[in-house]
């Protein structure tokens, strides 16, 4: 056997075929679909209009307004930040995330199902 680098196309790549298959199907569907010509936005700066729309101001291109969504997004980001810090903190004291606790839950559940299947 000669030593040469082998392509590790092991079984771990097999699930990837599903992704390929999905691509094939989607591509087949999209390419056979017919769209009318895109409408586009005509004149006016799209970027500026986006900025206006976010702050509920009327810009060159009319649009819906998103101030509330924007604010919520801000809150979300803060929350995510705080959450990330919480999670990442050393010994956060969040009991349920410790490994042994979860194993207990699992063990209980298993016993529960065993008794049920007894009949």
């Amino acid at each position: 056997m000669t030593t040469r680098p082998r392509l590790k196309l092991g079984s771990h790549l097999l699930p990837g075929l599903a992704a390929v298959a999905l691509f094939v199907v989607m591509a087949a569907a999209f390419l056979s679909a017919q769209f009318p010509a895109p409408q586009g936005f005509g004149s006016g700066s799209i970027t500026a209009s986006i900025g206006y729309a976010i702050f509920d101001l009327s810009g060159p291109i009319t649009s819906e307004y998103f101030l509330v969504a924007f604010e919520i997004m801000g809150v979300l980001l803060v929350a995510a930040l705080v959450g990330a810090v919480m999670l990442a903190r050393e010994e956060g004291g969040l009991g349920p995330l410790s490994g042994s606790g979860s194993r207990d839950v699992r063990a209980d559940g298993a016993i529960e199902t065993e008794t049920e299947s007894d009949h």
Partner: protein
């Protein structure tokens, strides 16, 4: 103008590449990256249809999606850290405590 189908095929391609990553890799960080790809595939779609329909909402939405993705990555990294702390590994196949 570029026909919308091309954007869609691009988006499908990006999405499936992300999916391929998720299906074949075991490293949680690679997972996170693949998820980013998939989210961006969705963004491409949003922008493409925004142009297709002449409606600005899609573009605004894609902005929001990017922001949400940022939040998601922040939390995701946090989770990976916890995962590492509990299992001493970032291999997703080792953390199977939640199966049935």
């Amino acid at each position: 103008m570029v026909p919308s189908q091309y954007y869609l095929v691009l988006s499908a391609a990006v999405f499936c590449i992300g999916l391929f990553g998720i299906l074949t890799r075991r490293n949680a960080l690679v997972f996170l990256m693949s998820v980013e790809l998939m989210l961006n595939a969705a963004n491409i779609n949003l922008v493409a249809f925004s142009v297709q329909n002449g409606n600005l909402t899609g573009q605004v939405f894609s902005l929001f999606t990017i922001a949400t993705a940022a939040a998601e990555v922040a939390v995701g990294i946090g989770i990976i850290l916890v995962l590492y702390r509990n299992f001493n590994d970032v291999d997703v196949t080792t953390a199977t405590t939640m199966r049935w």
